[in-house]
């Protein structure tokens, strides 16, 4: 007992006094693709002031059973829980703003779509704060209790299944991606530039949550002091095209997930939120978001806040013509009305033209880079540096004709064709054997993008994961 305790203490001391970044992994990826879409957000953060309304959307948290804790017209403080998960009553969801619950919208079967809050005042729920240097000495149970009671537990997600982490499970490791590679997303070098303190505080909190390592993977080209000087975590370097920034790809290459194991993930900006929460005792919903895409005038980074109304961000920024607004990146995001609200895990609003143009005899044209964009060389030219993508599919759905486009953009040791077929056949042994549990739909988004048969591979991966989860 004594020896064991002593050893543990010694190790902790060593870690705190000078953590050595053991065996950083350099991941060099060749598969994948950086989509050269037009409307890339400028590397500059502007402030647009507080929005009028914010919202929290219970529907977007997969697998929970929300139970409301507020009614319409209630006054709420920032950080006050709005609802909790009936399956796991400790997990509640903090209000992203102070004001009045102006509406609760329901969908079919009384699904709670979103809880809308009209902002007024600055009141926020006060929790106990911990000094930066003391975070390392808060014990794990206490850390968990604090995050849960602050309503911020949903910031932590778990693999497999990419859902809200289970506080009763000890994760083998925690992974953070310090690199957004998806199109039009936030430049983390920029977004974290003034957040070194809170980011490090957040990392220190995360280190209390696992006995294993906290892994932070950054782009080889990163210049952010916040990222490269992060202390107490294992820093890895990745280089390559999208999905090189996806945390699922990092896990796969650094420390792959085995059946029965759990790994937690959290986005880099949410690490800041977590760190701020611990050092100040308050929920700070502010976050850096981007607006971009072919339909956006002056695409840029904006200092916004979680769950803000999208129309506020797009004011005077939309090009003429009908367009589709997406909360999230163009590969994995969700279509929204302008009056809708940003998703909890989203930090990008993409807008693309919703064009009805149809090309006469397009089938037989050689195709130029004005009207075509392809990873194949099936057109005379299709490699524009800045392409105006629209919502058109450019083709109809067909049975799978495997010409290798999926493998070309999936930097994982996974057979996408075989996995796809195993899921359609509902063959659970094969799904697991082929590594489905290591996958998430976002890592397969480029497969759907590049598929000549227009198959939504990501949706099938999701279906497989849902089936596996149900089977247990």
């Amino acid at each position: 007992m004594d020896a064991g305790g002593g050893l543990g203490f010694k190790l902790t001391c060593v870690c705190l006094s000078g953590y050595v970044n053991q065996n950083p992994v350099k991941i060099h990826l060749t598969k994948g693709h950086n989509i050269r879409i037009s409307g890339i957000p400028k590397r500059e953060i502007i402030s647009i002031g507080d929005p009028e309304k914010v919202a929290l959307k219970p529907v977007e948290f997969r697998g929970i059973k929300p139970k409301l804790m507020v009614k319409e017209h209630d006054d709420v403080k920032l950080g006050q829980p709005l609802f909790f998960d009936k399956k796991n009553p400790d997990v509640s969801f903090a209000s992203p703003g102070c004001g009045t619950v102006s509406a609760i919208h329901y969908g079919p079967k009384r699904i709670i779509k979103y809880i809308e809050i009209t902002l007024k005042g600055e009141d926020s729920v006060q929790h106990g704060s911990v000094r930066f240097h003391d975070i390392g000495s808060v014990n794990r149970a206490d850390v968990i209790t604090r995050i849960l009671s602050g309503g911020l537990w949903p910031l932590l997600k778990q693999r497999p299944f990419n859902m809200i982490a289970d506080p009763n499970v000890a994760p083998r490791a925690i992974f953070i991606s310090g690199y957004n590679s998806a199109p039009l997303t936030v430049d983390l070098d920029l977004a974290l530039s003034e957040q070194t303190g809170p980011f490090q505080a957040g990392l220190n909190v995360l280190r209390r949550l696992t006995d294993g390592d906290v892994h932070l993977t950054v782009s080889e080209g990163t210049v952010s002091e916040t990222l490269v000087n992060a202390d107490g975590v294992r820093i890895h370097y990745v280089n390559g095209p999208h999905p090189a920034g996806n945390v699922g790809i990092h896990i796969h290459h650094i420390d792959p997930l085995n059946p029965g194991e759990t790994i937690w993930t959290i986005s880099a900006q949410h690490v800041v939120t977590l760190g701020t929460f611990f050092t100040t005792g308050e929920y700070d919903p502010s976050t850096i978001v981007t607006v971009g895409g072919p339909s956006v005038k002056n695409p840029i980074h904006i200092k916004g806040r979680s769950g803000m109304q999208i129309s506020e961000m797009l004011k005077d920024r939309l090009q003429d013509g009908t367009s589709r607004i997406v909360s999230g990146d163009v590969l994995t995001g969700t279509e929204m009305e302008a009056s809708g609200f940003m998703g909890y895990y989203d930090s990008t609003v993409s807008v693309i033209p919703d064009s009805d143009d149809r090309e006469f005899l397009g089938l037989l044209r050689p195709g130029t880079s004005d009207s075509r964009y392809s990873l194949t060389n099936a057109f005379l030219s299709s490699n524009s540096d800045s392409y105006d993508f629209t919502t058109q599919t450019s083709g109809s759905e067909r049975p799978m004709v495997p010409i290798g486009t999926w493998e070309h953009v999936l930097p994982m040791d996974i057979f996408p064709n075989a996995l796809y077929r195993a899921i359609l056949a509902e063959d659970f042994d094969e799904m697991e054997g082929l590594g489905l549990l290591e996958c998430d739909e976002e890592d397969f988004a480029l497969c759907s993008f590049s598929c000549p048969s227009k198959i939504d591979v990501g949706a099938v991966i999701r279906k497989g994961l849902d089936m596996m989860e149900k089977e247990g």
């Binding site: 995001g333 279509e335 058109q392």
Partner: protein, 391 residues
Amino acid sequence: MKFLHSMINKVRPTFEDGGSMEKFYPIFEATESFLFSTAEKTKSGPHIRDSIDIKRVMILVVVALIPCYIFGAINIGIQSGIAHGVERSVFQNFIFGMGFIFPIIAVTFITGGIWEVLFAVTRKHDIYEGFLVTCTLIPLVMPPTIPLWQVSLATTFGIVIGKEIFGGVGYNIFNPALVARAFIFFSHPTHISGEKVWVSAPDGFSGATALAVPAVIENANAVTLLNSVSQFDFSWWNMVMGTIPGSIGETNKILILIGALFLIVTKIASWRIMAGALIGLTGTAILTNIMAPLSSNTMLTLPAHYHLVMGGFMFGVVFMATEPVTSAHTNRGRWIYGILIGSLTVIIRSINPAYPEGTMLAILLMNAFAPLIDYFVIQAHMKARRLRYAK
């Protein structure tokens, strides 16, 4: 174009649900999406898509085959000229050859089109463009003198038995165009093999393909035999250039090579299959050359570079073995699949001189085994993963 578009929109209700012609919606859809690119939009993420679609893939394969048609027509003229002792210009040869090819194309497309529409209408799906490639390939693997009723029968067999009974494009096991050829090969062998079918010639003229030459004489050297043929120029270089008797599209190896490069550069066909087949053919031919002194079989003495340019090997490997649905679906599997096709081609050609055209049978056989190859590749992959889990 606005006029055309508004006309289409005017007749649209007749074909949509509840319209008097709703059964024939696939025909309407095919016409419309041929004239105007599809209006379909993404429903969820990914909200944007690559411009490539199956229509484009199929059209490009057809484009890659067009030079084979042009040369095929000219070559029919040249070969017939040799048989009749007539000299014609290149253009005259082309027109003469088109006189043979055009009816075959017409019959293939009419038959294939009818079946495709019939299945699309009964199964209520879009007309799939895969039949364009099948119907473009079938005439190219036929001898010029093939009776048209057989073309029609073979196309029917290829499309119905080779493809539709498995569920259509994407689910078929065998390459439909090869199934069509195999059908004639086994049911009406006299029309697709032997000495009489490759050249439009006077009665009694015998024009065997180069592969038949070493197949019928024992205890000789294949290359010497080929060079001693006076009727045709069976030198290696001339077999590359393709002015020799053979199926319509298979003779000119330069054009096939250009087609291969085109399909590789456009990333539509698998270079692994082609490279594998080349390796398999070369390796096996070297082996048979080594074993040649032990046997009286002349075919065993045929060197690899002759195997490469004789018969339908290159055409079959480039345009048929690479068909993505019926070949192996894993990259490692594609190598194995290619190598075995190359190897089996030499083995069938050498061991069984009754089937000088080994490529067709080799590809069909490997079509059948492609899922098994994939199965082993996938099992090995799963085993490696299980071992990792066990650690």
